[in-house]
Structure formats: C-alpha cells, structure tokens
C-alpha cells in the first residue's frame, strides 16, 4: 500500500471533514461563520469536499461590522456565487441604529466588541444550533483550550472551566432548546498548515493577504490601513507602505506586516521565519492579557 501521498495535511483534512459531516448530521440548523478571512475560506472549501457531488449544505453567516475591507466583501460575494450558497448577514450598523449596542468613542474605537451582540442576535433569530468557525488552537492561548464541539448556554456563554470531556472522536452535540454549539473543524491546524494546504489545493484568497502598496498609519507599533473609519491623532501621518495582512478582521483593528511576499511560496517562507504570531498585530487582542478569553466567554467567535 502506498501511504506516501497521505501526508500530515491529508490527515488534518480528513479529520476536519469528519467533524464537518458530524455537524451536518447532529444539528438541525448548522451554519458556517464566515469572516472573509483565510480560515473561514478554507473551512468553506473543506465543506465542499466533504459533501461533493452534493452541494455545501450550510449557509454562510457573516457578521458585517460595516468596517470591513471592501476586498473582503467582494470576495465573500463571489464565493457565495461560486458555490451557490445562502448568505445570512448580521448587520452591526443596524444594531447600532436600533440602539441595541453603543458605538465606542475615541481614537481607538472599534466595532470588534459590538459583533458579539449581532452574532448572538443572528444565531437566535435564525434558530442556529451549530455554528462552525475557522478558529484554531494555535492562534491564541484561550483558543488552545477549545474543544472541537464547544457548548454555549442559552446566553451564548462559554464556560472554559467546565467544558465537556471530549473523548476519542466521539463528539457529544446534545443540548437543551435555546443552547447551541460552536464547532471548530480546523482546531489542529497551524498557520503554516493552512498556507501549505491553500497552496496545495490552489485556493484563492482576497488580495489583502498578498503584498501590495497601501496608505497606512502606524499606531503603537501596529501598521493600520488608512480608511474613513479611522480618525487620526494630531501627529499621525498617512504613509504609503508595501504590506500584506496575516489575518483579516475590521479595518480599524487589523495590523498589517511589511512584506514583499506576493505568492503562496513567498508567504510560507515568510511565516516560517517570522518572530511574531499571526495575531500579533491584532489590536483587539492587545486590550488585555485575557482579551480573547473575556470576549469568548460572552459569545465571541
């Protein structure tokens, strides 16, 4: 038997597909949480492979803060077209307009935190009981604690100190009415695994991930894309830089890296040598040492 072509990426792929199919089978109303970033794009492609020749049996849910990169929105719409998917949008602007949430003020204002309310509202309104995300354990220290099947109570809260034991590959998705699960099929992938797989499978990504020239500002050692959503400090200047993004969140919080990496090979080489983590440039994680855990407990992605 030739086992050579079954490498570690194939093993990760097979594991993720197994989990995606379990989600389809165990939940009434499962969805893919789609941010427009590389991990949720990867997840959508894995879902296609899991069910082919049938079509992807999940709608995409996008929580749109209104502060997205236009490239992200365009990419999302073309992917929805390509795979003939349903798209559910949770609109943060609408939540603000209706007075459900209050926008942050000041120079570092972001809508990252406000996404939580829109996400929970979207989950409740659409009776979603299983929401898959592209979260990975190597991304961040509290994510390293996540189960594949992660229970959320009726308030969408995560209780990290009291998680269900998860044995072998026997996932327990049982819940009471009103509760739901977050499921992370690519839990065991690292950033490098993701890029190597994207390359191997020739999966397209938004242009943001590849080196390009962009108007930026530098704030607290973080390079941010200049946009109408950012207000400048008196001494901040707009400068053009050759950059790319390693993660894709809102324009107000996603830090860029200076990079000349224009293709998959160059990016893989760059990441292999990087001294900083993938989320090292994320202002949302820098607010406190436990910023991610705190947000996740409240229902964040």
């Amino acid at each position: 038997m030739n086992a050579n072509y079954f490498d570690h990426l194939s093993e990760l792929e097979s594991e993720a597909i197994f989990v995606i199919r379990e989600v389809y089978s165990e939940f009434e109303n499962p969805v893919i949480l789609f941010s427009g970033g590389k991990d949720s794009i990867l997840l959508t492609h894995l879902a296609k492979k899991a069910f082919y020749p049938a079509k992807i049996p999940f709608p995409l849910v996008h929580i749109d803060t209104g502060h997205n990169f236009p490239e992200t929105i365009n990419f999302r719409d073309s992917l929805v077209n390509k795979f003939n998917l349903n798209l559910i949008i949770g609109d943060v602007q609408k939540s603000i307009d209706e007075g459900l949430v209050k926008e942050e003020n000041g120079i570092n204002a972001s809508r990252n935190y406000l996404q939580i309310s829109s996400l929970i509202e979207t989950i409740e309104k659409n009776n979603i009981d299983g929401a898959m995300g592209g979260g990975r354990r190597d991304e961040e220290k509290s994510r390293a604690k996540e189960r594949f099947f992660s229970h959320r109570n009726e308030f969408s809260q995560w209780d990290p100190k009291n998680q269900r034991p998860e044995l072998w590959n026997l996932f327990n998705g049982k819940k009471n009415y009103g509760e739901h699960f977050r499921i992370f099929p690519i839990s065991n992938w690292t950033e490098l695994d993701v890029w190597r797989y994207l390359k191997k499978e020739k999966i397209n990504l938004p242009s943001l991930y590849f080196s390009h020239k962009r108007k930026c500002i530098v704030r607290k050692n973080t390079i941010l894309s200049y946009s109408k959503f950012i207000s400048l400090n008196i001494n901040e200047k707009i400068i053009e830089k050759e950059i790319r993004f390693r993660t894709c969140g809102d324009m107000t919080i996603t830090g860029a890296v200076e990079s000349k990496a224009k293709n998959y090979d160059e990016i893989i080489k760059e990441i292999s040598m990087s001294k900083y983590t993938e989320r090292g440039g994320r202002a949302d994680d820098k607010r406190a040492d436990s910023a991610m855990e705190d947000r996740k407990k409240e229902g964040y992605f």
Binding site: H8, R21, P53, R164, S187, K275, Y276
Partner: protein, 417 residues
Amino acid sequence: MKNNTKILRFTTVGSVDDGKSTLIGRLLLDSKSTFDDQLNSIERSSRKKGFDFLDLSLLTDGLKSEREQGITIDVAYRYFSTKKRKFIVADTPGHIQYTRNMVTGASTANLALIIIDITKGISEQTLRHTYISSLLGISHAIVCINKMDLINYDQKAFNSIIENFKKIKSKIKIDDIKFVPISALIGENIIKKSSKMKWYNGKALIQYLEDIEISHNKIYNYPRFPIQCAIRPQTFKQDNFRGFAGRIEGGIFKPNDKIKILPSGHSTKIKNIQFDGRILNEAFSPMSVIMTIEDDIDIGRGDMIVKEDSLPIVTKEIDLIVTWMSSSSLENKKKVIIKHTTRETLAIIDSISYKINIDNFENIENIKCLKMNDIGKISIKTSSPINIDKYENNRNTGSLIIIDINTNETIGAGIII
C-alpha cells in the same frame, strides 16, 4: 505495514507541580516554536508574579484562572514541528479533580510523556495517570525524570526512580518505555544531550519523540466504515447518485470488496470509492471518503460497512472498563445514552463488577456505585444492537461515551473489553 504517522499526538502525565507545563513550554521554546510577542507577554507576567526566571508554564496555561493560580485546569493543545514530524501536544492537568480532562487529552494520544519530580518520587496521581494511559491503549511512553538540577544530576537517584517505576511495569500494558533524566527549567536533555549528565547513554527527549515508530498494524485487520450520512445530490445531473460518507476507522477498502452492512447483515459489494469527485483505487484508515455500493439497500447514519472476512461483534450486551466523569455517581440500572462510532442508542447499566484501586491496581469487588474519577468494570445493555470490537484491537470501534439523559453531559468514557 509501513508507519505512515507524520503527526505524533502525545499527552503529558504527572502530578501537580512536577513540571508538565514547564516541560512543554521548554519544548516549544527550544524547538523555536514560540514567538517574540508571546515571550514578551510571559516575561511581563513572570515579572509581575515576582519570578526571576521565565515562567514557561504560561505558554500553555491559557486561561485567566490558570495563570492566576499557577495550575493547569483544562487540556491545552499545542503544536510544534521539527523537520521530521508535526507534534500535537495535549498538556493535561495534574489535579485529581481534573482527571476527566486528563482522560480527554490521553484518548487521542499515541504516546504518553510521563513527568516525575525526582525530589518527590512517583506520586499516586502519576500512577493513576500512567494506568489511565495504559488503559487508553497508549503503547509508548517516555518517562522524563525532572528537576535533575535540584539533586546535582545524581545518577543513583535517577536509577532508583527507574527501579521503582519498573515495579509497576508488569501491571500496565505500555510495551515501549524510555527513561530520560531532564531539567525542564534549565533545558537539559531536551533538544541536545546534556553535558552535565555524561553518565546518561540514551537520547535527548526530542530525538525520541522524532524517532518513535507508532505501529498501526492491528487496526488494519479490522476494516470498518461507520456511516456518517448519506449523500444524495438531488440535482438533475446527479439524480441517481447515492453515496455514503464516513471516515475509515480501520483497515483498507477497495472497489469490488465483498462487504456486509451492519446491523442489518445485508451482503453486497463496493461499487466505487471517491473523494471530491476523484475515484480512488483504495482507501484506508483514517481517510474520509464516500462509498457507493452495488445494491440499493436502505443504509443510513449509524450503520457500518465491514468486510465479510473480518466481522465485528453485533450485540446488545457490552462489558466495559469505564472512567466515571460525573459528580453524580454511576449506579446500577441507571438509564443512559451511549454514543459508539456514529450510532447513538439508549442503554441501561446492568451490573457494576468492580472498581480498580489504582494504588495497587487490584480490583475492589462488591461495590454499589462508581464515583467521579473512579475506574471500574461495568456491563451495559443497549436498546438496539451495536457493532463492536475490543478496544485493544481497534480503538475507534472499541470505545464509546456515556451521556446523561437529563443533563446531556458526557459522564463516562468506556473501553470495550
């Protein structure tokens, strides 16, 4: 069978404060799998705690309450790779009340990294976890005898721990055990052989981790394909397509293989095996694929495709070694849900035979119940037949979980004997 494991999954075993998280932190640091921003963050936290060294355990203790208390509460999964392998590490808690999280980490591991603090010797909790690792079918272990720096790298102390450990070896089923004297804090014998312990003839820890061959020989004798779901595209182009999606949980399947569908017992043949539109000549564990079959038989989730020449046992009566994980105890005649492969069924606890005393691995008979973190033998009766193998033959079809009917919690981990 060639070893095709490019990923090594291992778990840490040991008591509180024996240095498990510190060792993992050291492995991450010395294999250059940490980043400057992570290190800056733990440097700040270490200083804040008043330490004059880098608290490496902060690399894996990711929860706020863990960092505050300096203990590991839940499994943390960490990743690193060398040129030879990718490693997935389940860093598990040492405290007794978190044993269920330790079991979680061990259930998917191929190797146990057992850590013993040489100044304290082998603790009860280490014994317990070593036994659990053995029960969970982990057949490789590396025993890291830690804090050698505190006893001046003394060979005699190292040897006496090995002697003590060998006394329990006859009672556990871990075939392959290696011993390495280390200092996780300073980094001796982790990546390179230590110059302070010239008397030690073995390899540095990372070399053992890279070189150990995990054998999957047994599982290849038990070809199993539990069905996750049927695939019916319902489009004009594909309206006759009817496939069955699942992951191969043992053995090799090929087109034209004579198969049986369980539990119904129908015999038929595999028409083709495909994945993402590609037709495959064969498929083996752990590949996720779609199969189509010759006859139009009613099949669905929970059914299992097996080969005619190697059949599992189809039964409603199952003997288990169970690890109990709930604060409400396991009592006779309790009704539960069990999940085995992709099949769920109701079951009743039929008898509790004994509890295992993990101090001496002897059986305590005539007991009425099993309490949280107890390990014991029970028998259950299921409401519908399930297709089982012994755990020692196939981990995937020899394991099940027990779910509470009322709370939906996972309350037990069962190993089929």
